[in-house]
């Protein structure tokens, strides 16, 4: 039961040409694994998340395949993908708080959605109640309109709803960006719990916030400018990052308890390259403190140690 992504390229059509948002990405996610995908805005992580379930208006798959549990996902075929959505692949969207139809009671919307997917609401109700209780809500929520709930409550409803049919793959897109720190922790714990109770098999958590990944992810995948940059277990990445980009990212994380004056946040000067006409060679070259001549040739994303991957000439020890 795995997700296998092979050389996926997804571009955006614009008037000025194709924006190469996702430019040749390959990785696997195992059964029961929670993989975090992190990177700056525009690195391609959201594109990746979206392309796995539903392509946006201007996105198109240029190349590559995605296999889930051995079956190839028909990413470009919207109709064919419907069979997989909700049941095999599901998403907790970034806008979870406004994802519910404002003029429908939540219970009614759920039953209509389930019915449209051929699932009986009455049969699912006991399990639904159990899961709502798990995230700290009770059945009365079903009788309410979205406007009556708080943002956090709506998010939890969406989390339960999205995972109700026990999908093989759950994509959590920027789940915590709008939340405060303590709620972030609670949400992260909920996702882990979903995995532990086998509500979902594999989870991909997309975020720009490395600290939350450290708490909940098994593996972390770092992306930059449409390409994969480093992949390793959460502990390895945080303790021993190999790619210069990861190291700089982590160097810019404030540690709890350390005063600002003691440890300067280094930040990373510069900006990511335009993906309309990406530069040749390593895309991080322009901002990388370790760059040298070989970086003009694009480093492949290879295994540099057991279960560790990186795309950097310097990381190949």
């Amino acid at each position: 039961m795995t997700l296998a992504v092979d050389n996926l390229r997804v571009y955006y059509r614009t008037l000025q040409g194709d924006v190469r948002a996702l430019d040749g990405v390959s990785f696997t996610v195992g059964d029961g694994e929670i993989m975090g995908i992190a990177g700056e805005s525009g690195c391609g992580k959201t594109t990746l998340g979206k392309s796995l379930i539903r392509l946006d208006g201007r996105m198109h798959v240029v190349e590559g395949t995605v296999e889930l549990d051995g079956t190839q996902l028909p990413l470009s075929d919207d109709n064919a993908m419907n069979a997989f959505r909700f049941r095999e692949v599901s998403i907790i969207p970034q806008y979870a708080m406004s994802a519910l139809n404002p003029i429908r009671k939540i219970g009614r919307m759920t039953s209509e959605l389930l019915a449209s997917r051929g699932v009986s609401f009455d049969e699912t109700l006991p399990e639904l109640s159990r899961r709502l209780a798990l995230v700290g809500l009770d059945d009365t929520v079903l009788d309410r309109y979205p406007i009556e709930l708080s943002g956090g409550m709506k998010q939890r409803v969406v989390m339960v709803l999205s995972t109700l049919l026990n999908p093989s793959l759950l994509i959590a897109d920027e789940l915590t960006s709008a939340l405060d720190v303590s709620t972030q922790k609670a949400v992260a714990e909920m996702l882990v719990e979903f995995r532990d109770r086998e509500f979902v098999k594999s989870t991909i958590v997309i975020t720009h916030d490395l600290s939350i990944l450290y708490q909940m992810a098994d593996t972390i995948l770092i992306m930059y400018a449409g390409k994969l940059v480093e992949k390793a277990s959460a502990t390895e990445i945080t303790q021993d990052p190999r790619h210069p980009y990861t190291r700089l990212l982590l160097g810019s994380l404030p540690e709890v308890g350390v005063r600002f004056a003691d440890k300067r946040l280094s930040g990373i000067p510069g900006r990511p390259p335009s993906l309309l006409n990406p530069p040749t060679g390593c895309r991080f070259r322009a901002r990388c403190p370790l760059a040298f001549e070989k970086c003009a040739e694009e480093p492949p994303f290879v295994e540099i140690a057991p279960n560790r991957h990186a795309a950097c000439w310097k990381a190949v020890a």
Partner: protein, 311 residues
């Protein structure tokens, strides 16, 4: 290796945000203006609408120069269909329809633009003030807006025009302007609300600028496209309302208007006599102007709001 001011980047920590998608945000303002123009010319709706309106505007300006006849002047052959001598024929009383048409067209543009300015000014004042200042002033202004909104404009105009007998295009335009501002006020108020909560406005407020200055310098310029669209809609609406008033005989009787043409035509049995050149062109012109304006409006909206582009 690029070096930029690392101070700015320091504040951003793990999320070092830029939108590296290579879209228009990376372009400088000059390029952005070019891009807007590019979309503008490509947009069929804008091009078609604008062409129609400009065409009629040209006719309105140039048309009267091409004839010596006065629209009210009698003495021409009675009830003549269009010919090379009388381009749009004559009325049953011997007036030149072409002269009436082009002068009437002029009147439509004049009334439309003045009324739109009046209504726009009122709408902006009330909308900006209510939206920006809020509180009890906003409540009062909203109530006022709602009251004027609910009252059917035509009924008011009929009563007022009947008693006060409109003498000139200016007074007609002002009258229309005074009754058509509510929806503009509402729309502007809503936009002002959302803008007023943005950072740059708060910044201006905190730096001690007076409300008037903040509205004029910060809020209005950022709504310029929206204000322009509103103006266009007000213009179209005013042309229609003026035509209706003129048709009812409530417009200035000494000034030729398209509505007046239709009024005279109908009361002089032009329909029965089949004098289509008398009553078809005026209404057609109004439909064309208003239709052109509406279509322009949609096109402009698409250009100003990229989200709406359905390419």
């Amino acid at each position: 290796m690029e070096t930029t001011d690392s101070r700015a980047d320091l504040l951003a920590t793990p999320e070092l945000a830029t939108t590296g998608l290579g879209a228009s945000e990376d372009l400088d303002p000059g390029r952005k203006r070019y891009e807007t123009l590019y979309f503008a010319l490509r947009n069929t709706k804008l091009v078609v609408g604008l062409t129609v309106v400009l065409l009629l505007l040209v006719v309105a300006i140039v048309g009267p120069w091409l004839t010596d006849a006065d629209p009210f002047e009698f003495g021409f052959p009675l009830g003549e269909p269009p010919s090379s001598q009388y381009w749009l024929g004559t009325t049953s009383a011997g007036q030149d329809v072409y002269a009436q048409f082009v002068y009437g067209l002029r009147a439509s543009f004049i009334v439309g633009s003045i009324a739109a300015c009046v209504a726009g000014a009122l709408g902006m004042t009330i909308g900006f003030v209510g939206g920006y200042i809020g509180g009890i002033i906003d409540d009062i202004l909203s109530m006022l807006t709602n009251i004027v909104l609910v009252i059917p404009t035509l009924a008011v105009l009929i009563i007022v025009a009947a008693y006060l007998s409109v003498g000139s295009l200016m007074s007609e335009a002002v009258l229309i302007g005074l009754t058509s501002w509510p929806w503009a006020a509402r729309a502007i108020r809503a936009q002002t609300f959302s803008l007023a909560s943005r950072d740059f406005v708060s910044l201006a407020r905190l730096s001690g600028r007076g409300s008037f200055r903040v509205i004029v310098n910060e809020i209005a310029p950022n709504m310029s496209s929206y204000l322009f669209l509103t103006f266009i809609l007000l213009f179209g609406g005013a042309v229609l309302t003026a035509a209706t008033l003129d048709f009812l005989g409530l417009g200035p009787s000494q000034v030729m208007s398209l509505g007046l043409m239709m009024n005279t035509a109908v009361s002089n049995a032009a329909l029965q006599l089949g004098m289509w050149w008398w009553f078809i062109p005026p209404g057609l012109a109004i439909t064309a102007i208003v239709g052109g304006l509406y279509v322009m409006n949609v096109g402009l909206d698409e250009i100003f709001n990229p989200r709406l582009r359905r390419t």
